[in-house]
């Protein structure tokens, strides 16, 4: 009895163990084709920025997304028409290999005002100065903050500074940046004569649009630290359909009380913006969007008219649970036709003040300095 029991008991134990083992230690699929996770090795003295950026893709979480974004942007920059098969209906001139080599991807850059208040403005200035982007879309603050920085500086503050105290000192807080009221007073003093002049130049043939107004402001500021100056110089259009939603709007309001009559036509600008996307063919289009809101939607909407952008990189901290467009993932844009189904878009959930300089260092700056 004992030996039987013992024998049965031993058999039962082995079966149970086998069963448990089968559950816990289920054989896994082999993942040899996937990337292995490995971070940057700081033991390596010669790692440098390039090495660290190269390790992003394999670090995991948002670093991996950033690494993917770097790849996508590099693809945007490397693409040439010569890589595509000539379409059936293209004409002789388009078949010329030299021409095909020269056709590059059209890059749309969109960003929100707070980034221009921050130091990212200088990164944007680098891109615009060297004509590395083709179209810019931003909100009203993105225009005026750049101009104001040429007239007076922005200072570092703190998120926790009490509002009432700041108001009594005439300091405006943008996150942890501080903008003195004086800067806006200087901006008012600078812009009023420009608006007067614009009103005089207005006629039935020469109607102002937001992009023309911005081009004029870029010309007037005449300061190499401003990205608008370079945008004017390099003929890069800057679109801002909501130009009145900022200090510029206040200035237009005060100006209109004394000198009414200035008209700014947004219909013309929407035609120009959509044409940028529609007539981009045979070029491919890529979108790099920092933040959400108006710039994000405006760019994606324009690309919808050409059946979607070919490359897309979003860098923002917005979430999709509330159904907002700002937080929407690129896949949602694919459902609208704003991004092509064949594209591999990337969203990096990160504050653009961290992610964007790293992105530019690994892509635009790397190619720019590498070429030189």
């Amino acid at each position: 009895m004992g030996s039987n029991g013992g024998g049965d008991g031993a058999g039962f134990n082995t079966d149970a163990l086998e069963g448990v083992r089968a559950i816990l230690l289920k054989p896994s699929e082999s993942l040899d084709e996937s990337t292995r996770i490995a971070g940057p090795d700081f033991n390596d003295a010669g790692l440098g920025l390039a090495g660290m950026l190269g390790s992003l893709a394999s670090t995991g979480f948002q670093a991996s997304h950033l690494g993917d974004a770097i790849d996508v942007v590099n693809q945007m920059l490397d693409w040439r028409l010569s890589q595509e098969k000539p379409s059936v209906e293209c004409d002789e001139a388009e078949l010329d290999p030299k021409y095909r080599e020269s056709v590059k991807c059209k890059i749309f850059l969109g960003f929100t005002s707070n980034l221009v208040s921050s130091g990212i403005r200088d990164v944007i200035r680098f891109l615009v100065q060297h004509h590395m982007v083709d179209v810019i879309v931003t909100s009203a603050g993105g225009i005026e903050e750049d101009l104001i920085k040429c007239l007076g500086p922005t200072y570092r503050g703190d998120f926790s500074l009490p509002g009432a105290l700041l108001r009594s000192k005439g300091l405006n807080r943008i996150g942890n940046l501080l903008l003195p009221n004086d800067n806006y007073c200087k901006f008012e003093k600078w812009i009023m004569p420009v608006l007067d002049q614009m009103l005089l130049e207005q006629s039935t043939k020469n109607v102002w649009t937001p992009s023309k107004v911005i081009g004029r402001l870029g010309k007037e500021i005449n300061d190499e630290s401003s990205y608008l100056y370079w945008a004017h110089k390099n003929n890069i259009p800057v679109y801002c359909p909501a130009l009145t939603d900022g200090s510029i709007g206040d200035m237009l309001f005060c100006h209109a009380v004394h000198n009414p009559g200035l008209i700014i036509d947004i219909v013309q600008d929407v035609r120009l913006m959509n044409d940028e996307a529609i007539h981009a063919t045979p070029r491919k289009t890529g979108v790099i969007i920092l933040g959400g809101g108006l710039p994000k939607h405006h760019i994606c909407n324009a690309n919808m008219l050409r059946n979607g952008a070919d490359y897309a990189v979003y860098i923002n901290t917005a979430q999709e649970f509330d159904g907002s467009d700002s937080g929407a993932h690129p896949d949602e844009a694919v459902s609208w036709g704003k991004i092509k189904g064949s594209a591999k878009p990337v969203k990096v959930h990160c504050d653009a003040t961290i992610a964007f300089p790293l992105l530019v260092a690994a892509t635009f700056a790397h190619k720019f300095h590498g070429a030189n």
């Binding site: 806006y184 008012e188 003093k189 200035m251 005060c254 009380v257």
Partner: protein, 223 residues
């Protein structure tokens, strides 16, 4: 030496008073020239060597200021006042029209630039609403608004009124007001033979009747 001092003093006084000032020996003055009057204190105590500073005569007609009557105020139709001090029910000039302020709102210095005062005012003659936004530290023009009362003597066929002024003259260059109620009151009152006193508001070269009083009941005012 005294002459030099006097010359220097004369020069300084010329700058101060903006009139030609000449140092002249005191003795040479009296008794001959009576038209000029010596003014400032002498440069030294000795009688013979008095150098007195004379205020020279102007090239223009009169040295004294004439007080201009308000009726032909050439330069003083308005006076400047800081925008931040103008309150409701005050007066302000907007787009060259004299207006009475109905609403003032100020916004402190901020994203829109300097602190601003937003005025909503009504033109005192046409009744139209006008608006203006002025930085609080700027000066605005405030019109001189005068109210004078005249007795109504006659209404002419083409709409002009004849008024009796303080000194007994008639004033005939005013038209009847355009405001219908006031117009009705004047015409009816006059037709009934009542003694009417009209209040005329004048500002920036324009005048208009803006109020009416019936004084037939009282016998205080002169006919």
């Amino acid at each position: 030496k005294f002459k030099l001092n006097s010359l220097i003093l004369a020069g300084l006084l010329c700058i101060r008073f903006r009139k030609p000032i000449y140092p002249v020996r005191y003795l040479s003055l009296c008794p001959r020239r009576r038209s000029r009057r010596p003014t400032v204190a002498p440069a030294n105590s000795s009688r013979e060597n008095f150098w007195v500073l004379i205020r020279g005569e102007e090239m223009s007609d009169s040295e004294e200021h004439q007080f201009e009557s308000k009726a032909d105020a050439g330069a003083s139709k308005t006076y400047p006042q800081q925008a931040g001090t103008i309150r409701k029910n005050g007066y302000i000039v907007i787009k060259n029209r004299p207006c009475k302020v109905v609403e003032v709102s100020t916004s402190k210095t901020g994203k829109h630039g300097h602190a601003k005062c937003h005025f909503v005012a009504i033109d005192i003659f046409t009744g139209k609403k006008l608006e203006d936004i002025v930085p609080s530290s700027h000066n605005c023009d405030v019109p001189h608004v005068n109210r004078t009362e005249y007795q109504l003597i006659d209404i002419s066929e083409d709409g002009f009124v004849s008024l009796l002024t303080d000194n007994g003259n008639t004033k005939d260059d005013l038209k009847l007001p355009t405001d219908e109620t006031l117009l009705g009151q004047i015409k009816d009152g006059f037709a009934e033979g009542k003694d009417l006193v009209v209040s005329v508001m004048s500002a920036m070269g324009e005048e208009q009747i803006n109020a009416l009083k019936d004084i037939s009941a009282t016998s205080n005012l002169p006919c």
